[in-house]
C-alpha cells in the first residue's frame, strides 16, 4: 500500500502529526508497536502543564484518549497497531510486522516519532530482578494495575523520577528515598514538594552504590557523592527495598533514522544523537520528518506542537495547502513552541536546539 505520509510511532508527537496532516487532506498510515495508540500518554496519570487552552491541567491519559479518538475518527488515517517497523528501505518503503504477518508499506513522506529509550546506569547487582526502568514501573502500575514491589529506591530526581515516586505512593508502595547525583533536584519544584510532603526524602549528591540479593533485589546501599561524582566511603546507608527504579534519563531512539541515512549529530543537551532538521521538522533527507523525543528529549506538550508542525509541513510539501497558509499556521505553532521553551528551566534544551539551528544554517550558507 502507498500512503502520502507514514508515521512511525503513535505517541503524542506522531498522533499530533498524523492528525494535522490528515486534517489537511493527507492520506496517512500510523505504525505503532503497542496495541493501543498513545505512546507514553497511556500511563501518564499526572496533570499536564502548559496552556489551559492547549490541555494544561488535563491528565496525560485523558490527552492520549482524546488524540486516539480523534485519530480513529479521521477517515484519512489508517492505523497499524501491534505492528513493529522492522526497517526502512531506500525506495521509500517500510517493512512492518503486525498481526497479519510481514508486509511492506510505502510513503511519499515519513514522520519518525519513535520516542526514546531509558538509560541504564552501572552498579553491582544492576542485573537482578527488581531493578526496573521507571517506564516499566509506570506501565505495571498504571496500565496493568500491578504493584512492582513493596518498597522502592528511586534513582534520579527528574520529572519522571518524581512523578513515578508519587504514583508509587498512590498505589500504596513505600518509597524509601529518591537519590540524585547532582546537587540540585532535576525535575519541577512542584513535583518535588509534592513527594517531599508525603515523607519521601530527596537526597541530592547521592547515588546507589550497589544492589543486594541472590535471586532478586533484597536491599540497596546508597552513598554520598563528591564533586566529581565519586562515592564517599563511610557515607553508605542500607535501605530495605525490593525494587530499585531507574529514572536516570532518556536517549532518543534513532535506529530507523540512521538506517534511512539521515544526518545525525551528537547533542548532549537533547539526550544523545539526534537528527539534523530544519524549522519544519524536516531532516536533510527530503520528505523524512521527525518529532518528539526522537528529535530531542523534551516532554509531551512540546512533542505535540513539533508533531503538528511536521504534519502541517508534510501537507504543504505535498501541495495540499497553499504556502502562505502553511507559513501563517506554522508561525503560530512555532511561537507557541518558543514560549513553552522560554522559561529558565528550558535553558538546556534551548542550547541544544540552537546547536541544531546553527548546523542547519551553516550548511545552507555553504
Amino acid at each position: 500500500m502507498e500512503y502520502e505520509l507514514v508515521v512511525v510511532g503513535g505517541g503524542p508527537a506522531g498522533l499530533s502529526g498524523a492528525l494535522k496532516a490528515a486534517q489537511n487532506g493527507v492520506r496517512v498510515a500510523i505504525v505503532d508497536r503497542q496495541e493501543e495508540l498513545g505512546g507514553q500518554l497511556v500511563k501518564q496519570t499526572h496533570k499536564f502543564f502548559g496552556w489551559s487552552r492547549r490541555g494544561a491541567g488535563i491528565r496525560g491519559i485523558e490527552i492520549g484518549r482524546r488524540l486516539r479518538n480523534a485519530v480513529l475518527a479521521q477517515p484519512h488515517i489508517t492505523v497499524f497497531t501491534g505492528t513493529e517497523a522492522l526497517g526502512y528501505y531506500p525506495d521509500n518503503s517500510l517493512l512492518i510486522e503486525g498481526p497479519s504477518g510481514v508486509s511492506r508499506i510505502t510513503g511519499k513522506t515519513f514522520l519518525f516519532a519513535t520516542g526514546a529509550q531509558e538509560r541504564m546506569i552501572l552498579f553491582p547487582g544492576n542485573d537482578l530482578p527488581g531493578v526496573y526502568g521507571a517506564g516499566a514501573v509506570q506501565t505495571l502500575m498504571n496500565v496493568y494495575g500491578v504493584r512492582p514491589g513493596r518498597s522502592v529506591l528511586m534513582v534520579g530526581s527528574g520529572n519522571i523520577g518524581l512523578i513515578v515516586s508519587y504514583q508509587l505512593r498512590q498505589a500504596g508502595v513505600a518509597v524509601r528515598a529518591i537519590v540524585e547525583a547532582l546537587p540540585q533536584i532535576g525535575g519541577y519544584a512542584v513535583h518535588a514538594s509534592k513527594v517531599r510532603r508525603l515523607g519521601i526524602p530527596i537526597l541530592t549528591r547521592h547515588s546507589i552504590k550497589e544492589a543486594h540479593g541472590k535471586e532478586c533485589v533484597e536491599g540497596a546501599t546508597i552513598w554520598e557523592l563528591d564533586d566529581k561524582f565519586r562515592g564517599i566511603p563511610g557515607t553508605e546507608k542500607d535501605l530495605d527495598v525490593d525494587v530499585i527504579c531507574l529514572a536516570t534519563g532518556l536517549t532518543p531512539l534513532g535506529d530507523l533514522l540512521w538506517q534511512a541515512g539521515v544526518s545525525m549529530t551528537y547533542v548532549p543537551e537533547l539526550g544523545g544523537f539526534v537528527p539534523i532538521y530544519d524549522e519544519n521538522m524536516e531532516t536533510e533527507r527530503p520528505g523524512i520528518f521527525v518529532a518528539g523525543d526522537a528529535a530531542g528529549i523534551e516532554e509531551a506538550s512540546t512533542a505535540m506542537l513539533c508533531g503538528e508542525i511536521a504534519g502541517l509541513a508534510v501537507a504543504a510539501k505535498l501541495g495540499k495547502i497553499p504556502r502562505h497558509r502553511f507559513e501563517e499556521e506554522r508561525n503560530v505553532l512555532a511561537r507557541e513552541l518558543a514560549a513553552l521553551r522560554s522559561g529558565p528551566l528550558s535553558s538546556k534544551v534551548r542550547t541544544g536546539y540552537e546547536r541544531i539551528r546553527a548546523l542547519v544554517q551553516g550548511r545552507r550558507g555553504s
Binding site: 502543564f49 502548559g50 500504596g172 519544584a189 512542584v190 518535588a192 514538594s193 510532603r197 514560549a339 513553552l340
Partner: protein, 181 residues
C-alpha cells in the same frame, strides 16, 4: 527554626530538598488584612514553569491572567474568596486555601488529595508538614470530589490554628496510602 511555617530545615532549599524556604513562603503569604477576612488562596508556586491553569480556573479574576505562560501567578487578595477552584485546577498541586477565621481555636485548610480511599466528612485525619512529618490531627470538614474521576479532589480540614501554614498533606490513620514512609 520554629515559625509560622513550622520547623523548616534551615540548610535545605527548594531545589535541594523539595521543601520551600521561609523566604519562599513569605513571598506568597497573604497580607494580614486578607488573612483576617476569611478563606484565602495560598499559591505555593515558586518556580517559573510554563503553566497557567490557575488563572483560567479563577472565575473572580483574582489570579491575574498570564502575559507569559512561564510567569509566576499573581493574586489580587481583595478579589480572592478562597473558593478553592484553583486548588483543584493546579497541575502542580501547589495551591491551598487557608481560613484563619473559622473559630477562635481552629482554622480550615483546603488541600489537594489524590489518594484513595478519600476521607469522609467528620473523619479524623493525620496532618503532615512540607517535609512529610506528622504534625497533628485534623477533622474533615468537606470533601470536594470534582467533576469526574480524573479531577483532583480537594479536602477541607479543620485543624488547630497553629497548623494553618504548617500542615500541607493529610493521611488516614493506619492508611493504605501512607504505608512505609
Amino acid at each position: 527554626m520554629k515559625n509560622l511555617y513550622g520547623d523548616l530545615p534551615e540548610k535545605d532549599s527548594l531545589l535541594s530538598s523539595g521543601i520551600p524556604s521561609v523566604e519562599d513562603l513569605d513571598r506568597v503569604l497573604p497580607p494580614p488584612e486578607a488573612r483576617r477576612k476569611g478563606p484565602v488562596a495560598v499559591l505555593e508556586c515558586f518556580q517559573k514553569i510554563p503553566c497557567d491553569p490557575c488563572a483560567q480556573a479563577c472565575k473572580l479574576g483574582a489570579i491575574k491572567e498570564f502575559s507569559d505562560v512561564n510567569d509566576l501567578p499573581v493574586i489580587d487578595w481583595t478579589k480572592c474568596t478562597g473558593c478553592g477552584q484553583c486548588v483543584a485546577a493546579c497541575p502542580g498541586l501547589a495551591i491551598f486555601v487557608v481560613d484563619e477565621t473559622y473559630s477562635p481555636e481552629e482554622c480550615l485548610i483546603a488541600m489537594p488529595h489524590e489518594f484513595v480511599p478519600l476521607p469522609e466528612r467528620d473523619q479524623v485525619v493525620l496532618l503532615y508538614d512540607r517535609a512529610g512529618r506528622h504534625v497533628g490531627e485534623g477533622i474533615v470538614h468537606r470533601v470536594i470530589r470534582g467533576r469526574d474521576k480524573l479531577a483532583t479532589p480537594v479536602v477541607w480540614v479543620r485543624a488547630p490554628k497553629a497548623l494553618a501554614y504548617v500542615a500541607r498533606a493529610l493521611g488516614l490513620p493506619e492508611s493504605q496510602g501512607r504505608s512505609g514512609n
